[in-house]
Every structure is written in C-alpha cells, then in structure tokens.
Amino acid sequence: MRNRRDFLKTGVGVAATGLFPHVAIGQTASPKVVVIGGGFAGATCARMLKRLDPRIAITLVEQNPVFTACPFSNEVLAGLRDIKDQEFDYKKIVGDGVNLAVMAATGIDHQARTVSLSDGSTLAYDRLVVAPGVDFRWDALPGYTEAAAERMPHAWKAGAQTLLLRQHLEAMEDGGLVVIAAPANPYRCPPGPYERASLIAHYLKAKKPKSKIVILDTKDAFSKQKLFEEGWKALYPGLVEWVPLSQGGKVTSVEPASMTVATDFDKHKPAVANIIPPQKAGKIAELAGVADRTGWCPIDPLTFASTLQPNIHVIGDAAIAGAMPKSAFAANSQAKVCAAAVAKLLAGGTVAENKLVNTCYSLVAPDYGITVAGVYHPVNGQLVDVEGAGGTSPVNAPATTRALEASLANGWFKTITGEVFG
C-alpha cells in the first residue's frame, strides 16, 4: 500500500496534464469514472478511487473552483472564525491525477453513458458517481423564495449566505430577536440548527446580552436534544427558546418585506431571521433520474449504486442512507465505501458487505463540545444501526469532557479536510 506522500509525489507529473483535457482516446483499457459534485462525498470518492486504482480515468465535475465547508461555519456566524478557514481548493486532488472540470453538469444520457457539461462537451463514463448535496425546496414554504433568502438568509450552504447572516447579526441592536426556523427531517446536518443557536447565543451573551433567540421547529425532537438543552441552561439561561411543532413551532409562511415569520399561532417580527428551508437532493440527481418521489435518492447500501438507474452511484446528503444522518463524516465514510465498490465492480469483482460509521461533533460553546456516533450495516437493503453501538455524549458530564470533545471537534475538522482536500 502506497502512502499519501508517494501519491503526492507521483501526482505532480500528472497534474500538468490533468487540468481537464477532453480525453477522446478511442478504445483504451482504462475504465472511466465521472464524479459530479466536489463536496465531502464527491471529492473524497474521486480521490480515494484514484488511490485504489490509478488506472481508472476519473473526472470530478464541480461548478465552483473553491469549496466552502459547512461544518464549523456556525463559528463564522458567531465571529469566532474566518470564512477563509472554511475554504478548500482541488489542487491536491488534481495533483493526485484526478481530472477536474470546473463546470456544471447539464444532463445525463443513460444509454450512451455520457454526462453533458455546461460548455457543450460530454464526458463518457463506465460508472458515474452523483454527489450533489442538497437543494432547497423553494416551493415548500410560502414567501420563502431565493430573493427572500437575501433578507432572511438560510446560511445552509456555506459561503456568501454565511457572511450575510453574520452581517445581520452584527448589525442587530442589543435586545433584538433572532428567529431560527428549523425544517422537518430529513435535512442536511440534523444538529446544525441547534449548534447554530448555541454559537449565536455565545456571541449575543458577550456582545448583545439583552437579545433573544427563538427556534421555531417543525419537529418535536431533535439530535442531541438533551445535551443541547443542558448546555443552553448552563451557558445561556433565558437566551435560547425552543418552540416544538406541537406548541406551534412550524413556520407556515414568511414575508421578507415586513420581516414577518408566521406560525399557525403567532407572527414574529425578528430583527434577524434565519430560515432553513425544506430540502431535497441536489438538482443533478433529478437530471440523472436517481431521485424518487421523496426528492432523495434510493441506493443499495453495499455499493451505493442507485436502485433506479444502472451504472450510477449516489453518495452523501443526496442519498437515502437509512439510519445514517446527512453529515460530512457520513458523506466521507460513504464515499470511501463507494470508491472501493466502484473499483471492485470495474475490475469484475463482487463487493463484500461493509459497515459504515458516523461521528458528528457540535459545539455548544467554543470550549464545549458534544457528539453523536453510530455504526451502520445493511439489513434487507437498508442501512440500519448496529444495536448496542453508537449514541451521544453523556449528560451531566464534567466540563473537562466537554472541553475535550471541543478540542476533538477541531481536530476532526482538520483531519477530514486534510484527507479530502489537503
């Protein structure tokens, strides 16, 4: 097994020719894989597949030359972190011999096994990996359009929206109301809205202590709930209020012009509104015909092959991965299993059953971390929890445990972004 340094060394020679040539070689022995989407799932898969079998010609199709990571972007909102620390490019992945097409995929021809790109060219594939992340259902919440997101940012895709919400928080006067609208399951990063409330509370407690955060929720329970509630009570008493579905928490419409967030019982007029809308698999999943009526993509958990279309795999947030949450760790974990499966299938082998893992860190404060972990295995075509494994950090743990998990959270981010992009 060659190590990472060897790969980086040999990758340099490839890089010179690796910047997206339209390889139109006739019949060659090298199989072709196209990966659409350069987030935690797609970028991991492209890179790992090249490492597993350097003979495979891999093209990673991604619209943005720079990836902005969502994990830890709540720290940017709280003024604890620069957005630049969230940004990663694809140079090292190209250096490993992966072709990069900085373009949008515009269509997929299942018969010809080609992907068409925004410049009019096409890419042939033997296997296609679709990793488009999430898109928002702009039709799902009355009043919440793409234009509305300029007044009421979702900040659920990191980047400009993160900075916009940060600006709104900075501009707010002390005593202002912040509303966070959390969607129903499934959605990207289940504990995300609550970590966000925590870190915004951390900022407000120090800078604008008369302010308040109300979380309007379309659910009656949420990820790491006991731990978050314990943390809010200890660190931010009276600052964070959670309104569950059963108490009228569901946001039914918004009106950006008047900054109104309406539920069945109330009309809130927040100074800052963060609306996290309902979601579905990224657009390319629909174009590829791999999304079902739910808007998400059913897969075979052994190989992450689509159950709807041949020769296409779906990984990351877009996939219906059973008990696995939509997290960066899960996406990375799925991508590695998928890469191994694709390499095996291209070589004519059979894929053995694999267990998958998720770990997910959240910060209640910069020095207060909590986690949830899970181990998953395929049962009757679904990924289910391995019984007796997984679970959350303990409640009533000492401050040292919370501080240790916060430090591990920071280490995790450096490690995973290093593995994918570094």
Partner: protein, 97 residues
Amino acid sequence: MIGRRAALAAVILLSPLAARAAEAPSGAAACSGCHAAGTSVDTPVPPLAGRHPLELYGALQAFKTGQRQGTIMDRIAKGFTDDELKSIAEWYGAQKE
C-alpha cells in the same frame, strides 16, 4: 481474560500480512475521518498507520468492553465483532506510517 484474548490474537495476527491486499476490511475506511494519515495534522487523535496490530486490537477491545474510557471510540468499537476489530487492527498495522 485479556491475556488470553491477546494470545489468541497474536496467533491470528502472525499470519502473513502480505496476503492481506490493499483492500480495507469492513469499517476500516471510516477511521481516517478522525485519525489522520500522518502526524502533520494538529489533532489530539492519534494516527493508526504502522502501529502494532496487537496494540491497536488491545485498544479497540478495551474500548468495546468499557475497560478504557473513550469519548466516542467506546461507542464505535461496540458496533464491531472481535473478528472485525482484528481485521481493522491488522490492516492499519500493515499501513506505512
């Protein structure tokens, strides 16, 4: 008990490592999400590659049985059979640092 386990593991682990190809055993691919490939990453989580398989297996068993307190490794190790943990320990032991 641990002594017997370790002895048993030693016998199994002494089988030729070369036979174990590049293919990662079930679950092993996930580890690198937290355990960096080298020491260059600033994290309290230790690297796994190149460590003695018995040391890795002992640690995984201790997490699984609760003899060693972890933050999340105790919760993860419980999801794997002893054979799976052995395979993971062997595979990481065979990786170059």
